[in-house]
């Protein structure tokens, strides 16, 4: 007998759970197919045909989603160009993933916390963070260019999946202090194989911490395809083992991604515990500008996904709904151009980095040993300057 998701749901009766566990507000298993509100041609999927229906976000919100996606993509293309000009050491592009990048930050409040990875530059600029501060890490001036406390946005995380446990702790800590903060954590498909992903989901589940785990399944972890990460039917199924609600969504359907995330955030905020969302999407660019994707995937595959452009899909839908016209599209395009031009100009300036700042913030107060090393570097710099003079 094949086990259908419905059968699994039936086979996990309430009586098997610990008595104290309240009935979950949402089904633990994701919908059997990724949720879609727009089809590939940008037409609204009728609720009768939908695998699982979610309320559509207001039109004004969708227009803003469109605007931010367009600006986000222009930013992303500009950042890739900056690597070619030697202005950035490296850039991991999220072109093609804009529906996820932007919905991830639009689904939460400014007072909520976001835990991004290196892939999330577009999400960060969409959250309102200065693009130069977002790119500080990749330009190489310092590790984190923005103020995480002010933006309630953790530094971009490179050690895979380690941020998931931070999100669980942050969300629990906020609740502990009587605040209704939600933590939304971005994670890639490959990183769901790391132990910390499982520990993070489990901690959030056990402590009912208001966390949304948002997996962008872009099908690759550098070169390694999803089939090497998991034998699960989809990554969204990983939630059920931890007893948390899960959903999967077409990650190139911006309306569906935002609708599903909004529901997940609401679920978490209203005390029903964490929520796992998997978005099926695709990384159009190589892993970073330093990667050669032709070694592990075909151009045909990339072409197929170019045809599933999330921005075009939303534009078609909004035009059809009379919510977007040529003038509005042109205005957004012009805004995006201006944004990129400003970024180009500002990234052309050479940043001034103070070598002696290396010793700041290792500890709250430098140790005597660090003060000695600081004095040594200061002397080296003075000697070098004298040599030049």
């Amino acid at each position: 007998m094949t086990t259908t998701p419905q059968a699994i749901r039936r086979a996990s009766p309430r009586t098997n759970r610990a008595a104290a566990r309240p009935e979950p507000a949402a089904p633990l298993l994701p919908s059997p197919e990724p949720v879609r509100l727009l089809d590939e041609a940008g037409r609204r999927v009728s609720p009768e045909c939908a695998v699982r229906d979610y309320p559509e976000p207001p039109t004004e919100t969708l227009r803003e989603l469109y605007r931010r996606m367009v600006i986000g993509r222009r930013f992303d293309v500009q950042a890739t160009a900056l690597t070619k000009q030697g202005r950035l050491a490296v850039y991991p592009s999220s072109r093609g993933q804009e529906a996820c990048q932007v919905s991830g930050v639009m689904a939460v409040r400014p007072t909520d916390w976001v835990f991004p990875t290196y892939r999330e530059s577009v999400a960060l600029v969409s959250r309102g963070i200065d693009p130069v501060e977002v790119l500080t890490l990749l330009r190489g001036d310092w590790h984190c260019g923005y103020d995480p406390a002010a933006w309630r946005t953790a530094p971009q995380c490179t050690p895979l999946a380690t941020q998931t446990v931070h999100a669980a702790g942050l969300a629990y800590g906020e609740a502990h202090q009587g605040r209704d903060t939600v933590a939304l954590v971005f994670i890639g498909d490959g990183a769901t194989s790391e132990g910390d992903f499982h520990e993070g989901v489990n901690f959030a589940a056990v402590f009912r911490a208001p966390v949304v785990f948002f997996v962008q399944n872009n099908r690759y972890a550098i070169s390694v395809p999803l089939s090497r990460q998991t034998a699960a039917p989809t990554l969204a199924y990983k939630g059920v083992g931890y007893g948390i609600a899960s959903e999967q969504v077409d990650g190139n359907d911006p309306v569906a991604v935002l609708a599903v995330l909004a529901n997940a955030v609401e679920h978490a905020r209203s005390g029903h515990g964490p929520f796992l969302v998997e978005a099926h999407t695709y990384r159009l660019e190589p892993h970073t500008n330093a990667d050669d994707a032709s070694r592990y995937r075909s151009m045909d595959e990339v072409e197929t996904w170019l045809g599933r452009d999330p921005i075009a899909r939303l534009e078609t839908y909004l035009r059809g709904a009379g919510a977007l016209d040529d003038a509005a599209v042109d205005a957004v395009a012009a805004e995006a151009e201006a944004y990129a031009a400003d970024l180009r100009t500002r990234m052309n300036a050479d940043p001034v980095v103070d070598p002696l700042s290396l010793f700041d913030h290792v500890y709250a107060q430098p140790t005597p040993q660090l003060l000695e090393q600081r004095a040594q570097v200061r002397a080296e710099l003075a000697a070098a300057e004298e040599g030049e003079a």
Binding site: P159, G169, L170, G195, Y363
Partner: protein
């Protein structure tokens, strides 16, 4: 707190420090494996759940990276987590969280975020423990910029250094010598002692300096006592914290005595003792009458209980090292080429 005087064990002093910190600062929370109802496998958190409730002291799933990573998030929300690793070797799953996040978050964010977490690690051997229960892992932490590494050796220090660790703005790895948990001393708590980065001369002496910390301190003191019979008057320095390191006290002592032996229980190669020996020779070269020697554990995986006495630096091995400090100005035969 309710002041305690008389014979107190280190375990009780640590418990009192946690209790007093929980009472003094509502941001402090204590969690880990079995720290709630059971009070920890060594009973260090005994009674905290009953007295402070399960929002302040609680058990977690068995996942050390999870425990430390959860603490990072809690610290970001403004709390002051104190976590217990059940045993030294079981802290290794948390190594990535400790080295990549706990140690670096302040620096990565130019001080905009900080993670004042205390990671308590019962460590070292001499208790007849089976494998994976007796590691001395301090060098891994001391090698990581951004962490403070605290090594109490006495009951009063256990109390005062733990209070200080919890109040400190930086993350602290707090290493508790298991074999000293139930040794008791006459003390009055709360005890106030010098802060981090201040070594203490436990026994003044003129002829040579023994530099040590943590579990090895009582052994060094015993060796210094025994050395009197041989006519040596040995000074014993207890470092108390290895990060920050007190060069000043060590240097002043060795410049005066002219001879130095560094003692640690951990295996010697690339250990903290090697760092100390290097620092001493850099700073005291012209005062030294003999090479700085190290007495350490053997460079082997921690042995099974029946053989641990061979591994552990004991009084005899320390006295042998002292004997090799070129008292008659003859080169140490160990290092003379055949």
């Amino acid at each position: 707190m309710t002041a305690t005087a008389g014979k107190v064990t280190m375990a009780k002093a640590l418990n009192a420090a946690l209790r007093d910190s929980l009472a003094a600062d509502e941001r402090v929370i204590v969690f880990g494996e079995d720290v709630g109802q059971l009070g920890g496998v060594f009973r260090i958190t005994d009674g905290l759940l009953a007295d402070f409730g399960d929002k302040r002291c609680f058990d977690t799933p068995l996942a050390e990276a999870g425990i430390v990573g959860f603490a990072v998030g809690l610290a970001m929300s403004g709390l002051r987590p104190v976590v217990e690793m059940q045993f030294d070797a079981f802290a290794y799953p948390a190594f990535e969280q400790i080295t990549s996040h706990v140690a670096k978050l302040r620096n990565r964010t130019r001080g905009q975020l900080s993670v004042p977490i205390v990671i308590r690690v019962p460590y070292a051997g001499g208790i007849g423990g089976v494998e994976h229960h007796c590691d001395s892992s301090e060098a891994y932490y001391a090698h990581t910029p951004g962490l403070k590494v605290v090594m109490p050796a006495t009951v009063a220090d256990a109390y005062s250094l733990l209070r200080e660790a919890i109040a400190d703005p930086d993350p602290v790895v707090f290493m508790e010598p298991k074999k000293l948990y139930f040794a008791s001393e006459e003390v009055t708590l709360p005890a106030t002692m010098p802060g981090f980065g201040r070594a203490v001369v436990r026994r003044p002496g003129r002829d040579a300096t023994l530099v040590t910390y943590g579990a090895a301190v009582p052994v060094a003191l015993e060796a210094a006592e025994a050395a009197r019979d041989e006519g040596w008057d040995l000074e014993v320095i207890d470092l108390r914290t290895i990060v920050p390191f007190d060069d000043e006290t060590v240097t002043a002592s060795v410049r005066r005595t002219g001879r130095c032996v560094v003692i640690q229980e951990a295996q010697g190669f690339a250990g903290v003792g090697a760092e100390i020996a290097a620092r001493v020779q850099e700073r005291c070269f012209h005062s030294l009458h003999a090479p700085v020697l190290r007495v350490a554990g053997l460079d082997i995986p921690y042995p099974a209980p029946k053989l641990e006495h061979i591994h552990l630096p004991g009084v005899d091995r320390i006295l042998d090292a002292v004997a090799r400090l070129q008292w008659d100005d003859q080169p140490d035969p160990t290092w003379v080429a055949a």
